[in-house]
């Protein structure tokens, strides 16, 4: 498979990918940018290859779509950690890399990261743990749901009549993966400038509360926030902390309605439509009553939106520069004219079969990101990679 050696803006780096689901999004982003990423798997294959959803190709073979997305564009090398010689091979692989992203494999192989650094001072090693390398919860186990619960994300999501909820997929792990990529490339920059590598530690439990928008603000500054009643804001469906964004039902679908950035402009639109109800009452004109007016406006909007066709309302709002958002299901997203016009999608190879799938989250002028994505067979590149580092036979 040649795809992991195609061009890209990171074609100058070699990465050893020892990341499980907690950080695999980080090595994916780096691989998609053209780095030579070697993913180490046990002889019977990465357990993430067994994650759904699945698709059958024309020959009836099942392919993991999870792995097609998260595990693609790497070279695959198998290592049996139960075998001392192969553990030494892993050490050699680490030493032949610029960056190692690890969620615990090195420790399982009894490889000390500071020994690696001594042998190769410019090496960058990113160590991802669930809760940190020390502390009362250091040995605790996590999953994306548990990480989101302990990290403060789950408490924000769900409605008053549901339990607290996770988001779609494993977005707490996505955040962790992004920080792993940032840690890798930051330390790489320092190594390129100074020749000095280092160990970068990252805990899922710290990545999650780094992305909570209002949650910590509520804790620290609730006295400065007119809408805050106390230091915690309980989950409340789609209603944003500002009280100014909420999903409403139109006649044939749902739509996120907001009075931002200018409630007065929204009022003018309601007046133009003749559906302002009592919003012109002088009591709402008092600047002191601005919040009361906004809350009332959301009620008036709810009545009005219920009578509207969702698609027409969305486009009319955007025409008037209101940031409304039509609630779209994946099949609708797949038909987005915006994504089509920006030539966003890319092709994913599943055996002999090619399917369309998500493109890259940024468009580059120099060395555009590849438009084809594929997964190596388990161990497909073992011999070639080991030959290159002078480790021919095992």
């Amino acid at each position: 498979m040649e795809s992991s050696r195609t061009e890209g803006i990171l074609q100058t780096i070699r990465v050893l990918d020892l990341a499980d689901e907690r950080a695999i999004y980080g090595s994916k982003l780096i691989a998609d940018l053209g780095a030579d990423v070697i993913r180490v798997e046990p002889p019977d294959g990465d357990r993430l290859r067994l994650r759904g959803p699945f698709a059958s190709d024309n020959d009836g073979e099942e392919h993991s779509l999870y792995y097609a997305y998260y595990g693609s564009n790497r070279r695959s090398v198998t290592i049996d950690l139960g075998n001392a010689r192969e553990r030494e091979t892993l050490r050699q692989l680490a030493l032949s890399s610029d960056v190692v992203i690890d969620t615990g494999t090195l420790a399982s192989a009894d490889i000390d990261v500071f020994d690696l650094l001594e042998a190769k001072p410019e090496l960058v090693i990113v160590l991802v743990t669930s809760f940190g390398s020390s502390g009362p919860w250091a040995e605790y186990l996590t999953s994306d749901l548990v990480a989101g619960a302990l990290g403060g994300f789950v408490a924000t999501t769900g409605d008053v009549d549901t339990q607290p909820l996770k988001a779609y997929g494993e977005l707490n792990f996505t955040t962790t993966g992004l920080y792993a990529a940032i840690g890798s490339l930051t330390a790489l920059r320092h190594a390129r400038e100074t020749g000095e590598g280092q160990v970068v530690e990252l805990a899922v439990h710290e990545a999650v509360p780094s992305c909570l928008e209002h949650v910590l603000m509520w804790g620290w500054f609730h006295n400065d926030l007119p809408m805050a009643k106390d230091d915690v804001l309980a989950r409340r469906g789609s209603l944003h902390w500002s009280d100014m964004y909420e999903v409403m039902d139109a006649s044939d679908g749902s739509i996120m309605i907001t009075t931002t950035p200018d409630p007065m402009k929204q009022l003018a639109w309601l007046v133009e439509m003749g559906v302002e109800q009592d919003l012109l009452d002088p009591k709402y004109g008092d600047p002191e009553q601005h919040r009361m007016m906004v809350m009332r406006m959301m009620e008036v909007l709810r009545d009005w939106v219920a009578q509207q066709n969702v698609e027409d309302l969305f486009f009319e709002a955007q025409e008037r520069h209101f940031p409304y958002g039509w609630i779209l299901s994946p099949d609708r997203v797949a038909q987005s004219p915006q994504l089509e016009a920006r030539d966003w999608w890319m092709n994913y190879q599943l055996g002999a079969h090619i399917v369309r799938g998500p493109g890259a989250p940024y468009l580059l002028e120099e060395k555009p990101i590849r438009k084809e994505s594929s997964v190596s067979e388990v161990g497909a590149d073992t011999r070639e990679v080991l030959e290159k580092i002078g480790w021919v036979e095992r």
Binding site: I9, P53, L165, D249, H321, Q338, G359
Partner: protein, 395 residues
């Protein structure tokens, strides 16, 4: 500034969350981030509590971009920047005369990143968006909820953070590329495309199988496992997440809660059976958890090797979480900046052995660093800076 990104100059035109979150990270890592603000653009100034959250470790330059001189100074700064970053709708910087085509003529190495809502071009290119808009259009709102409810969505502006993190990733990659090629480049990051990428496996499922995924509550999206949910505990709105990911964990779970017989119960003996009897299983577990304190459930199960954790609120994180306390995650800035006292904050989650991030400075008052920045970046003489102040360029 010290840190791994020492020497990287960032000219920062961002506002609200997505862009400022990106440049906050760059500032934490040691880059010299010059935040361009104006007293004429309220909302993007330190008197906003929101601004206070996302603008530490940046210097503040006030520039009136409605003046010719303001735009000239901005252009001169852009020509000396390693990174120019903004999250306006497409076209604003072009109108100010500092579009990529202009800036890159005098600064071929510039990494110029535009984080608009919908990206540059396309039929939706001029659409306005906040995170909630992107969540809606990207499918994240639809997919985050319980069966039959496609209207809940994520309870915070998550995609803004994601756009910021993706922006930092691509900027750092572009720095590595510039090292060997000498070339800078323009990056067009659509916050919408970041959001759509987060639903990647649902889109592949649609294209490969025609399957339109629906909200699944707290069920695992990629593996057949159960239990995997949040359960009520003692107290007002207290919950614990319990996730049994393997059969060994299931046996540990049953032993820990004193229900060893469940491992032999045909309804619960395998993960598949448990998923088939999910409501029954969840009710049985909730009967147990609701009599207990959530932290006690967490400790009992974690000690038995089962992933479990309290649904912690922000207040729990700040006041109760012993792990975050142990790692010194919450701190106060070393100075007061634009405020009367130090600003509390959460440190960056990356801990570098050689280039640790130790200095966190509070957001600065509007224009607090004008003289220093113009002196350092443009070598402007003191009297020239004073003149600009007098004629109103620096406000």
């Amino acid at each position: 500034m010290t840190g791994a990104l020492k020497g990287i100059r960032v000219l920062d035109f961002t506002h609200v969350l997505a862009g400022p979150y990106a440049t906050r990270i760059l500032g934490d890592l040691g880059a010299d981030v010059v935040k361009v603000v104006s007293e004429k653009r309220p909302g993007n100034t330190p008197d906003s509590t929101y601004y206070r959250m996302w603008n530490r470790n940046k210097r503040s330059l006030s520039l009136d971009m409605s003046t010719e001189r303001g735009r000239e100074i901005a252009r001169a700064l852009a020509e000396r920047a390693d990174i120019v970053i903004e999250n306006f709708s497409p076209g604003v910087l072009d109108r100010w005369g500092i579009g990529y085509d202009v800036v890159s003529k005098g600064n071929t190495g510039v990494i110029y990143i535009q984080m608009s809502g919908m990206g540059d071009g396309g039929p939706w290119g001029d659409f306005v968006s906040f995170a909630a808009t992107v969540h809606a259009l990207a499918g994240l709102t639809y997919l985050t909820g319980v069966p039959g409810r496609e209207d809940i969505g994520i309870g915070n502006s998550f995609n803004d953070h994601q756009a910021g993190l993706h922006a930092v990733t691509i900027m750092l990659a572009a720095i590595e590329y510039r090292r060997t090629s000498g070339k800078g480049q323009r990056v067009d990051l659509a916050q919408y495309e970041v959001g759509v990428a987060l639903t990647g496996t649902a889109l592949l499922d649609y294209f490969a199988n025609g399957n339109v995924q629906k909200p699944v509550g707290n069920r695992h999206q990629h593996e057949v496992v159960a239990p995997h949910d949040t359960y009520p505990c003692l107290g007002d709105d207290r919950w614990v997440a319990i996730t049994v990911m393997t059969e060994v964990q299931w046996q540990n779970f049953c032993t820990a809660i004193g229900r060893s017989e469940w491992t032999g119960d045909p309804r619960f003996a395998t993960a598949l059976a448990r998923v088939e009897h999910l409501e029954e299983l969840n009710n049985c577990i909730a009967d147990w958890t609701m009599k207990l304190d959530a932290y006690d459930v967490q400790e009992l199960l974690q000690n038995a090797g089962v992933p479990a954790g309290v649904v912690q609120t922000g207040k729990d994180l700040l006041q109760r979480d012993p792990q975050l306390s142990h790692s010194g995650f919450f701190r106060k800035t070393i100075d007061a900046g634009a405020y009367n006292e130090a600003t509390p904050f959460e440190r960056i989650p990356l801990q570098f052995s050689r280039t640790p991030v130790e200095e966190y400075r509070a957001p600065r008052a509007v224009g607090a660093d004008n003289a220093e920045i113009l002196g350092e970046w443009l070598e402007m003489a003191e009297q020239d800076i004073q003149l600009e102040e007098q004629i109103g360029t620096l406000r």
